[in-house]
Point group: C2
Chain length 402, copies 2
Amino acid sequence: MSYTEISGGVTASRGFLAGSAYCGIKASNPDRPDIALIYSTEPCAAAGTFTTNRVKAAPVRVSMMHVRSSDVRAIIANAGNANACTGIKGIENAKRMASTTADALGLKDRQVLVCSTGRIGVQLPIDKIKTTIAGLPAACSERGSLAAANAIMTSDTRTKEIAVEVDLDGTLVRIGGIAKGAGMIDPNMATMLCFITTDAAIDKKLLQRALSVSVEQSFNRITIDGDMSTNDTVLMLANGQAGNKPLRYGTPAFKDFQRSLDHITKHLARMIVEDGEGVTKFIEVHVHGGATYSDARRAAEAVANSNLVKCAWFGGDPNWGRLMDAVGYSGAKMREELVDIYYDGVLGVKGGMASKTPFTKLQEIVSGRRFSICIDLHMGSAEYSVFTTDLSVDYVKLNMGE
Amino acid sequence: MSYTEISGGVTASRGFLAGSAYCGIKASNPDRPDIALIYSTEPCAAAGTFTTNRVKAAPVRVSMMHVRSSDVRAIIANAGNANACTGIKGIENAKRMASTTADALGLKDRQVLVCSTGRIGVQLPIDKIKTTIAGLPAACSERGSLAAANAIMTSDTRTKEIAVEVDLDGTLVRIGGIAKGAGMIDPNMATMLCFITTDAAIDKKLLQRALSVSVEQSFNRITIDGDMSTNDTVLMLANGQAGNKPLRYGTPAFKDFQRSLDHITKHLARMIVEDGEGVTKFIEVHVHGGATYSDARRAAEAVANSNLVKCAWFGGDPNWGRLMDAVGYSGAKMREELVDIYYDGVLGVKGGMASKTPFTKLQEIVSGRRFSICIDLHMGSAEYSVFTTDLSVDYVKLNMGE
């Protein structure tokens, strides 16, 4: 690997500051920091990927417009209220969050991206938020990443941050990220947010490409309950302060950059799954031998989202019959008698039937906290992986609401 | 309504006998009847609908062939072992179940349909089964419906049977059915079976048409966990013993027959949902105003299968934000600001936002054991309904395996 992990999260990248403040938005937890700011002192290229849910929260709509600006400088985010299903007033409030931040930093509104996570269907306490934002730049520093990571948490039990340094043609470039997960202890919460900074010099178009590819390999591969949020957002800012030669597509330097970025997103995606609600196990489902990419993907996602499969895992039950069943209804092209299934590399199913591996051996694997399921369809050469979890009694308890 | 409910289940129809026996197939419950026989003393037209899972149990494959015979007479079914993922030997064993039954009744193999439900991936104890089947006709009678309904149960807590009598052009015709549900207390169990008899005179092609239409409106509209079994089967036999004029498509008599059959399948489908594993609530999700039938269906199914929605219901939490979210990611054409949602007819969401109905009123409705959710997309005139359940702590406990 050409990159090395370093400390500092989103403020590891030169020229970025971050910080947080208390605004009292979270009804259940008013004494927690709940508003975070990340900004760059220098001009940035920006990129973003957003939920494909047709119900999009107001801040998602605003950020989708603002991210197109040529010089985005800041990300403002609150936890405790999703500002989703809030109509025109919700849009106005999201815009006010951006404009207040812009005023505080001497920027234009369109240079600020805005995110919210939390309760759906309730209007933001916008006056309190505006007052808090006005004082926020003073709370930001080059060591503020963890404070920001902490402020965007909802039901997360751990902050999620990472940074790497990579040598690109002799210049040390840094990339850092923070994220919050799809935990839903509070009713109406269901959002994954990720903010990434880099001091690499890279143009907006290439940055978007790199981010989209990276998200496809990471956040789009994780599933906890199969529900997709109205607020999911990944944002990335690049300010060129490392002084590298601007990256060009296809060069070795760009490939190293992509690899480093992929490490960031995969690491954060994994942290989100591991910190998922009521999660007791972390499972990689890998399908290969698919007739097409789409077949491999369908099979992997059906298994990773099957409640029956996930309940069995929770109980430490290998239950390969449920895996076969899920592959069978996934829509993937398959022939039962060709399917092999491996548990951590141990053959559990051979040609669609029980292998000779003792069942107790499979039980031992599935009783662990981490294991892999590898399904070979023997229909072609396409493959796909998903990271998923078990479905626990605590998941239900955490999500049964008030 | 032109039909009236009568007692007798599958043996309410004239010329049908049913019964059950103990074979000891269920490891966990060896002293329960586990094998059932239903047969007609007279020639029958037969129809069937089968799981669309690509992994099909051996008896499904055999019955799909045998149901094409011109004179099917009998259905033999066992609980405790699904005979799925059992390879060539499984097919041979399913055929042996049919041939042993045929021998005992003096029929040809192809006149017998065969079903299994229970554990996946284990071979049937075929010798024991053959011995049991040989003595089974002697245990059958014109009052044997309940015994058969009892024998096909797995984790079901209640037997499921119903029969109706309907006057078709002056002739009293009977239709009766038994079913078992998608309960899965035992690991590897996940099957819905339904057997219907009628003494109406109706040709094979029209019977299949009537059954397919009826299944589409009933069993295909229920969802407990979104997992589709390898063994799901609905079979219907019609022996003409009522002496009615053979039914013709489009006539008032046929419409009455269809309506009566629909009552049977809807009733049994509802019984299956209500007896689902760990189910504490029964919910009808009705979407109307869809741009197309497919849009209405996608929206309804996304809501009915959302773990977050179902956990909220379990907790008595209206949580309309999760409903909006599910509709949003369903793929259905929708505009957030047009969506209205009713809880038991009470407006909970108006134009994609909280209505003025007090939240406590919605909580009161969702805390009940039965309620309806009606979602108006205001995009067109298509509609679709699904019957579903909550997702409870007991569901997870029942499915976490050994």
